[in-house]
Symmetry: C2
Subunit: 514 residues, 2 copies
């Protein structure tokens, strides 16, 4: 009922939006204006590379997918009889490096939302895959479709969110067999930004590819030329790729869609307790995914993912935004560049509430990712609790942080107008610049205007109820949801999407025993 | 009364500390392991440099100090008759560049606390010069000696605080004529870290120099060889240096003590509304200070300070930790390196409470400062409200941030032990690293252990009362104050300091009409 009412309201709004408002200009993607910062010397980088090749060649990895093992065997890898263990000769790995593009365009259903992935371009995803959702009014609750849709609406309204990295929260009240159909339908209708497909069995990959094809209104050949959906492939560290993940690599690469391979190498748990060791393992696992993707289709788009962090020494709990996380971010970027691959990192934190910890761990994560040369930033807006919670307030706060990062990355302009000698001549020693022409013609747009930061003086701020950033974010997310307008969509395309979902549901959806 | 009681308790503790506890090892200063990040191209940097020389040569600056004007006139500057306006030929400026040392040691009364200033070394100061102080229990209140002393105790207890950048809060209940005597006495007895002297008239500079000489137990000649106190010189932007500030430059440089010249060039208010313009003016004002310092004593230690930020477009209030602030941090560092000078920046924010805003603005400031190659970070721990408030909780939280930054700067080690191939061989695909020997021998010290971050799972955290970072910082600062032990001091030195303070008080202290 609530869903239907919201949907109806959405339709009315969409109608209005189409009729009377010109689409606001979409800001260009941020670009890195400086060289990324290296974590280790060139020799040390080679030592890590060589260690990863040794891992793949001597220790080997478990590939829990017969088709992937066949592919590797045919290419010259040594597959252990009656075992998932595969050892990949270093030459076979080296031969796959350099085939995938250094950068490519990820297409969205709205072409104005297409994104460059790689080079100096940066793209920010929303939070993805949280099992719980929270806002201050409703508290923390398991993921459900209503919150899922509202997070889509909120993310669509935030310019800083460039694309979806998965479901911002799991709509767990939709049956698993058809969840991907409803969830992707929501994502493609409530938003016009680029999308992600979960690799949870062949059918889900193929359904997602078909739904973005329909949403874009293109044919199969165009889709295959134009990557339009990406999948995150996590290894089951240490040194293991499971069946659905390998199936995802193969299905996506076969159609020239994007594979983002991200080992989750938590130092001290699923990886060695040292940064160099954990990253060497991360690198081995990422290269293993690269080999499968490039053997499936040489030149298919592939993103190198890094997600090495450490555990809390006291409890074994994962920690994020730590100094170790930052160093691993820099090192991961250095390795991705060595292989000529776009680099994925994350805006991560392990805080339970939207407090100073949530903010500093997030900004430390951003610091590591950005200075490491990130191209695809996962979990950019809304991630909390090490990924267990999607937060409405944090999504708004993070969008503000991402906008600040984007403004930081905009180069300083140096020319006579900007150097402003004439203004200094006019104002002179001891004067004030508020009134001069140089200021008056620029001050309205001269500086970044944040959503959250409260710069009132203490007295005014206290009179206004002493709002903390959490309060302001709470107020703002509700304002934005109330003002949400769905992006326009050709009714024929919407009908085709609806028909596809209805047909696939009638067929029983996708198996749940992947 | 309270002060006296506290002092008595302090003495007892100091006694104990001397008797039965070995001094804990002082961690080495952080060093930048990578090249700082440039904000502009080499050509653009030269354009800014040239613009600054043009400002000094053609517009000129007001020097509200006859001695400084005489010095400049004798060196070839053009002093306007009957006016403070001085125009400095570019050759005169260029001739002073390269005379000051690229790096030097700032001596503390405890030699183990001596600091390298310059090169790749980083030193963190505590908050300085706030008129108000706050903690959650006592609220916000005007500065006073009790809070001043407690902030000294807290800062002394925090390893991340390397030195004092001034009074953490103004002890405004001590009469201005003798405040510097009591305040420096407290600083030199409650702490053994390096100190700052305010330039508020000749007597205060000279008293500070004498007090650190006594505290170090050295003679005048040694003091003059070994810089032991620094002063912050702020220009009265735009393009003006006032009398006490210029007197401070001259008095400190004459004795080979450290001048840190920091224009406060708020873009859109005391400086042009553009970053390039505001920094060109910052640079002109910093170079003007360099000229006076080097004309006074060629080769005297001088630090290039940058503090360019922007105003809030809505209110005109100063803003910090903004994207503009970050860019100005990078650019300031680039200019300091061009002149071969150590670089000063700040950990700034404009938040009114210790919330997410306080944290993200601070970490953005640290990001800009660190990647800009900061050598002397002012206001590192405890600054709030754009400098109007020193916060006990923020001091602890910031110390944690600074420790995280220091750990981030510690290079990743890459060698066979760290690469951990043997551990990966032992654990193998699908295993777990917790139990292996490589982890067991390292996990206790493998990762940075923060003071504040709460990494418990949501349920445990909620059962524990759902503490936010502010709550944890509040608890920790009180624990640290309760556990405070004053650093040892030779009783003869203490008596000499007491006698000096008593004599100078009897003489009436220092004039208050500076």
């Amino acid at each position: 009922m609530a869903d239907a009412a919201m949907e109806a309201r959405g339709r009315r709004r969409r109608g209005r939006g189409e009729a009377d408002s010109a689409a606001p200009a979409i800001r260009p993607q941020p670009r890195l204006p400086f060289a990324p910062v290296p974590a280790v010397s060139a020799d040390e980088l080679e030592a890590i590379h060589e260690a990863s090749l040794t891992i793949l060649e001597e220790i080997g990895m478990d590939f829990l997918h017969e088709g992937a093992r066949d592919l590797l065997r045919e290419a010259g890898a040594e597959v252990e009889a009656g075992s998932p263990r595969v050892r990949i000769p270093r030459q076979l790995v080296e031969a796959q490096i350099g085939l995938a593009p250094r950068s490519f365009t990820l297409h969205a259903r709205n072409p104005a939302r297409n994104l460059a992935i790689g080079g100096d371009a940066v793209a920010f995803c929303a939070v993805a895959s949280a099992p719980n959702v929270a806002d201050r009014d409703g508290g923390r609750r398991p993921g459900n479709r209503t919150d899922y849709q509202n997070l889509l609406r909120l993310g669509q309204s935030l310019d800083a969110v460039h694309l979806w990295g998965g479901y911002p929260v799991e709509p767990a009240d939709v049956h698993a067999s058809v969840r991907h159909l409803d969830a992707l339908f929501d994502m493609l209708t409530l938003s016009d930004k680029a999308i992600h497909a979960y690799s949870l069995g062949r059918e889900r990959n193929l359904d997602a590819i078909e739904m973005i094809r329909i949403a874009r209104g293109i044919d199969d050949a165009t889709l295959e030329r134009e990557p339009s959906v990406f999948t995150i492939i996590n290894s089951s560290s240490p040194l293991r790729l499971d069946g659905p993940m390998l199936e995802g690599v193969i299905q996506m690469a076969r159609r020239n869609q994007v594979v983002v391979l991200t080992p989750f190498t938590l130092a001290g748990a699923m990886a060695p307790v040292t940064i160099a060791g954990a990253v060497a393992q991360q690198n081995a696992e990422a290269l293993a995914g690269l080999v499968v993707a490039q053997l499936t289709r040489p030149g298919s788009p592939f993103v190198y993912g890094g997600f090495t962090s450490n555990v809390d020494m006291k409890s074994g709990a994962p920690a994020f935004g730590t100094p170790e996380y930052m160093k691993a971010c820099l090192l991961g970027g250095q390795l991705a560049r060595r292989y000529g691959l776009p680099y994925r990192s994350s805006n991560a934190n392990a805080a339970n509430t939207v407090d100073a910890q949530a903010a500093y761990e997030s900004v430390f994560s951003l610091w590591g990712a950005i200075m490491g040369g990130v191209n695809l930033l996962m979990h950019g807006a809304g991630w909390m609790e090490g990924g267990l919670q999607a937060s409405f307030e944090k999504m708004v706060l993070d969008a503000d942080l991402l906008d600040m990062v984007a403004e930081f990355l905009r180069p300083v302009k140096v020319d006579p107008e900007e150097l402003a000698l004439s203004a200094m001549r006019e104002v002179g020693p001891g004067g004030h610049f508020f009134g001069c022409a140089h200021t008056q013609s620029r001050y309205r747009t001269a500086f970044f205007a944040p959503m959250i930061s409260d710069w009132r003086n203490y007295e005014s701020w206290r009179e206004a109820g002493a709002p903390a950033a959490y309060d302001t974010a709470n107020r703002l997310y509700k304002q934005r949801l109330a003002a949400y307008e769905p992006p326009p969509m050709d009714p024929a395309i919407r009908e085709e999407l609806e028909a596809f979902v209805a047909r696939r549901k009638a067929e029983g959806g996708a198996p749940t025993d992947y």
